[in-house]
C-alpha cells in the first residue's frame, strides 16, 4: 500500500484506472472522456494512463461518454466515466438507459451546482437530479473514503445479484481539488478484490438477441420490478463487499449509514459528503461540553437505507437534516427521503436545513447555529434556509 498526497480527482482517476486494469485478463475496459469542471482531471488521468487492455474514448459530449460505456459494457468490458453538474444533466438520457440496460458501469460524479447561474462549486443538486434513475448512489466524505467507495462500487455493481450501475459522488473542489494523504491500493490487491467483470446479458453471436428494444407493459412492469428487487439486495451485497475489502486491504470502509454517539443522544445531526465531516467536529465539541448530541453520516442514497434510518433514529427526539441540495417547491432531498422512511414513527422532530447551496462555506459555526436552532424548537417548520454567505 502506497501512502501519497493526492487530490480527490487524482485519487479517483488512479482508482478507476486500477479497476479497469484489473479486468485485463477478461474483456478489458473502456469508457468515454469528456471534460467539465471540477471533474476534468479524472478524465485527463484516464486518458494518460497506459492500459494493458483498455481504451478511453475522447468523445464529443457527456451523452456520448455514457453511450460509449453502454456499448463497452454490452460487449462485456468493465466500463466507467466521470462527470459533473450540467454534464450529468446533458448525459441524463443515457444515465437512465445504462441502468435500465442493467449495466454495471461506475461513474464518478463530482458534485457541482447546476447552472444557470454558472457556478462551479459544490452542490448535490446534479447527482440528486438523477435519484430516480436506476443507479446506486454513494457519497464519499473524504479522499480515502472516495478510493475505497469506488472499489466497493465496482464490486457491488458487477455482482450478479445486483447488476446496476453505481455513481460515486464527492464535493467539487472541497474534495476534488484539495490534497490529503491517502492509502492508494496497489494493482495486485485490486486484482484480488475485483474479479473479472462478467456480463450475463452481453451481446452474443451464439445467442443473438435484441437488447434494449421494445417491450409490452407486462414485460416492462416485470423488468422494473426486477430493478427494485436488485436494489433491495444492495445492502447485503455491500456488507459482504465491505467484509472482503477489510480482508484484502486491511481497513474497513463505512457502511451505508454511520450513526455516531446516537444511542445516548436526544439531538442528532444528519449530513453527507464533507458537511458530515464538519458536522462531526461540531458534534464532538458539543459532546466535550456535555451535550447529548450525535451524528448520522449518510453514505448511500440509492437504494435509500430506510431500515438503517428507522433503527438509528428510534429514541431520538430531534434530528436536523443538512441538505446541500434543494428541490424547488419542496425542500432538501435527503430530508424528503428520511421523512418518507419514518412514516408512522412518532415523537421525532425532524427539521430540514437547506445549507451551502452553490458551494457556500458550511463551517462549524454554521453547524452550531443549526444545532442551537433545533434545540430551541418544539415543532418542525418548512425547510429552513440557512444562508451561509452573509
Amino acid at each position: 500500500m502506497a501512502r501519497d498526497l493526492v487530490t480527490g480527482n487524482g485519487a479517483a482517476g488512479y482508482t478507476l484506472a486500477l479497476a479497469g486494469q484489473a479486468n485485463r485478463h477478461a474483456r478489458g475496459c473502456c469508457g468515454g472522456a469528456y471534460p467539465i469542471t471540477p471533474q476534468t482531471e479524472i478524465i485527463e488521468y484516464l486518458r494518460a494512463f497506459e492500459f494493458e487492455k483498455g481504451r478511453i474514448v475522447p468523445v464529443e459530449s457527456e451523452h456520448s461518454a455514457m453511450a460509449v460505456c453502454i456499448g463497452a459494457s454490452l460487449a462485456g468490458a468493465r466500463a466507467f466515466t466521470a462527470s459533473s453538474s450540467n454534464g450529468l444533466a446533458y448525459m441524463t438520457e443515457n444515465v437512465f438507459a445504462a441502468g435500465y440496460f442493467r449495466l454495471p458501469i461506475v461513474m464518478i460524479a463530482v458534485n457541482r451546482t447546476l447552472g444557470p447561474p454558472w457556478n462551479i462549486w459544490a452542490d448535490q443538486g446534479d447527482s440528486l437530479a438523477l435519484r430516480d434513475a436506476p443507479w446506486i448512489q454513494l457519497y464519499a466524505e473524504c479522499h480515502q473514503e472516495l478510493v475505497d467507495t469506488i472499489l466497493l462500487a465496482f464490486r457491488v455493481a458487477e455482482d450478479h445479484r445486483v447488476l446496476l450501475p453505481a455513481m460515486v459522488c464527492m464535493d467539487g473542489f472541497i474534495v476534488s481539488h484539495t490534497q490529503m494523504i491517502v492509502d492508494l491500493p496497489e494493482q495486485e490487491l485490486v486484482d484480488r478484490y475485483l474479479p473479472v467483470c462478467s456480463m450475463p446479458h452481453s451481446l452474443r453471436h451464439d445467442h443473438p438477441q435484441t437488447v434494449g428494444g421494445l417491450a409490452w407493459p407486462r414485460e416492462t412492469e416485470h423488468m422494473r420490478h426486477e430493478i427494485q428487487r436488485a436494489m433491495d439486495r444492495v445492502p447485503e451485497v455491500l456488507e459482504a463487499a465491505i467484509e472482503d475489502f477489510e480482508r484484502i486491504f486491511g481497513r474497513r470502509p463505512r457502511g451505508a449509514v454511520t450513526a455516531e454517539h446516537v444511542d445516548d443522544s436526544e439531538t442528532v445531526v444528519i449530513a453527507s459528503n464533507t458537511i458530515a465531516r464538519t458536522a462531526r467536529n461540531a458534534v464532538m465539541e458539543r459532546r466535550e461540553r456535555g451535550d447529548r448530541i450525535g451524528l448520522i453520516s449518510t453514505k448511500m442514497f440509492r437504494p435509500f437505507p430506510r431500515d438503517a434510518f428507522r433503527t438509528a433514529l428510534s429514541g431520538v427526539r430531534r434530528a436536523a437534516v443538512l441538505d446541500r441540495n434543494h428541490s424547488p417547491g419542496s425542500g432538501g432531498i435527503f430530508w424528503q427521503e428520511i421523512a418518507a422512511s419514518l412514516q408512522g414513527e412518532q415523537g421525532l422532530l425532524l427539521q430540514d436545513y437547506v445549507v451551502g447551496l452553490g458551494g457556500g462555506d458550511v463551517t462549524q459555526d454554521v453547524i452550531h447555529r443549526i444545532i442551537d436552532d433545533i434545540e430551541s424548537r418544539t415543532a418542525p417548520t418548512d425547510p429552513v434556509w440557512e444562508e451561509v454567505t452573509v
Binding site: G54, A67, I70, S73, G76, A97, Q209, G212, L214
Partner: protein, 304 residues
C-alpha cells in the same frame, strides 16, 4: 403455429420473416441486400430509435438473427464505438454496423456521428434515408427535400435537403458511398468495399417509405431506379473524402416519373423546373470533382 415459430427462430437471415415492416419499405430490401453483400460475415447491429428498431419486435422476440444493441436516439455511433473498441481489444471479428434512419443521422445524431467519423472509429454506418421521421408518422427532417409535404410541413417544406455526403466527405472518412435498392450489384460491391476498408465507413441508402411518401408499395424499387436515372440521387463513392467515383450517369429519365408517383410531391410549393436546376447544379459539382479528383483504379473491391 409451433412449427412456424421454430422456422422463424432458426432462420439465419439477418432480417427474419414475421417482422412488422410495412410493405414496400426500402429498409427491408436494404437489410436483405446488406446480408448478401456481407456473405458469411455476421455483423453486430447498433440501432437507435427508428423504424429499424420497431423491426426487431417486442421483447423477448427479435426480428433480427444477429445481436442488436437498441440505443437512445442520438447515441448509435457512440455505443458502436464502445462495442467496436471492446471487439478490437478481444480480437472479435464481427463488424459493428449502425443501422439508422435520417432523423438519427441528419438531425439528432449529427454530433455523435460527426465525432465518431472524426475519430475514424472502426464502424460501418448505414443510414436508410426515407426523408422523414417515419416511425412517428411522417414529420419533416433535415433530410426532407424542398417542397415536400409532411405532417409538420403541410404546405411543403421551404428548406432544402442537407447534403450529408459532402458533410461526411469533409470528415475525410475512408469510404462513403450511396446505395440503391434498384442497383443490386452496385449495392453488394459497395458493402464488400466497406467491409474491406478499415475505419469509419458511411453508406447512404435512399429508402422508400410508402406510408410517408404516399406511394404504392410495389413501386418502391422502381421509384429508386427513377431517382438514380433522373439524377436526383447520384450513385457515387468518395474515398478519404477526397477522391470521387460516379457509378451511374443520369440517362434522361424525366424527374416527373419519380415525383408524380408520390403524393408527398403534390404541394403548391413543388416547382419541377427549380428541382431540375438543382439536379443540374449538383451534377456540375459532382462531375467536376470526379474529373479533377478521381478514385484510383485499384479502389475497387476485388473478390479475394
Amino acid at each position: 403455429m409451433t412449427a412456424t415459430l421454430s422456422v422463424i427462430r432458426d432462420c439465419d437471415h439477418i432480417l427474419r420473416p414475421g417482422n412488422t415492416n410495412c410493405a414496400g419499405c426500402g429498409m427491408s430490401v436494404g437489410l436483405q441486400m446488406l446480408e448478401q453483400g456481407l456473405g458469411r460475415t455476421r455483423p453486430t447491429l447498433v440501432i437507435p430509435a427508428c423504424c429499424g428498431i420497431v423491426t426487431a419486435g417486442a421483447f423477448p422476440t427479435s426480428g433480427y438473427a444477429v445481436p442488436v444493441a437498441a440505443t437512445t436516439f442520438a447515441s448509435a455511433p457512440a455505443v458502436a464505438t464502445g462495442i467496436s473498441t471492446v471487439y478490437h481489444l478481444n480480437g472479435d471479428a464481427h463488424p459493428v454496423i449502425c443501422w439508422t434512419g435520417d432523423g438519427g443521422t441528419y438531425d439528432i445524431g449529427m454530433a455523435t456521428l460527426s465525432a465518431a467519423a472524426e475519430r475514424n472509429e472502426n464502424v460501418i454506418y448505414i443510414c436508410y434515408d426515407n426523408e422523414i421521421y417515419g416511425n412517428t408518422g411522417g414529420q419533416r427532417s433535415s433530410a426532407t427535400p424542398e417542397g415536400v409535404r409532411t405532417t409538420t410541413t403541410p404546405r411543403g417544406k421551404p428548406e432544402r435537403k442537407k447534403d450529408i455526403m459532402r458533410i461526411m466527405a469533409a470528415h475525410r472518412v475512408p469510404y462513403a458511398a450511396t446505395l440503391s435498392i434498384a442497383h443490386r450489384e452496385d449495392f453488394l460491391r459497395k458493402v464488400r468495399t466497406a467491409l474491406a476498408t478499415p475505419g469509419f465507413r458511411f453508406l447512404l441508402l435512399l429508402s422508400p417509405c410508402p406510408t410517408g411518401w404516399k406511394s404504392e408499395p410495389e413501386e418502391s424499387v422502381d421509384l429508386i431506379d427513377h431517382a438514380v436515372r433522373c439524377g436526383l440521387f447520384p450513385l457515387m463513392e468518395i474515398f478519404d473524402g477526397t477522391r470521387y467515383r460516379v457509378n451511374a450517369l443520369p440517362d434522361g429519365t424525366p424527374l416527373e416519373r419519380y415525383t408524380e408517383r408520390q403524393r408527398r410531391y403534390t404541394s403548391t410549393e413543388i416547382n419541377s423546373k427549380h428541382i431540375k436546376e438543382e439536379i443540374a447544379d449538383q451534377w456540375q459539382t459532382l462531375s467536376a470533382l470526379a474529373h479533377a479528383f478521381p478514385a484510383k483504379s485499384r479502389e475497387q473491391f476485388e473478390p479475394a
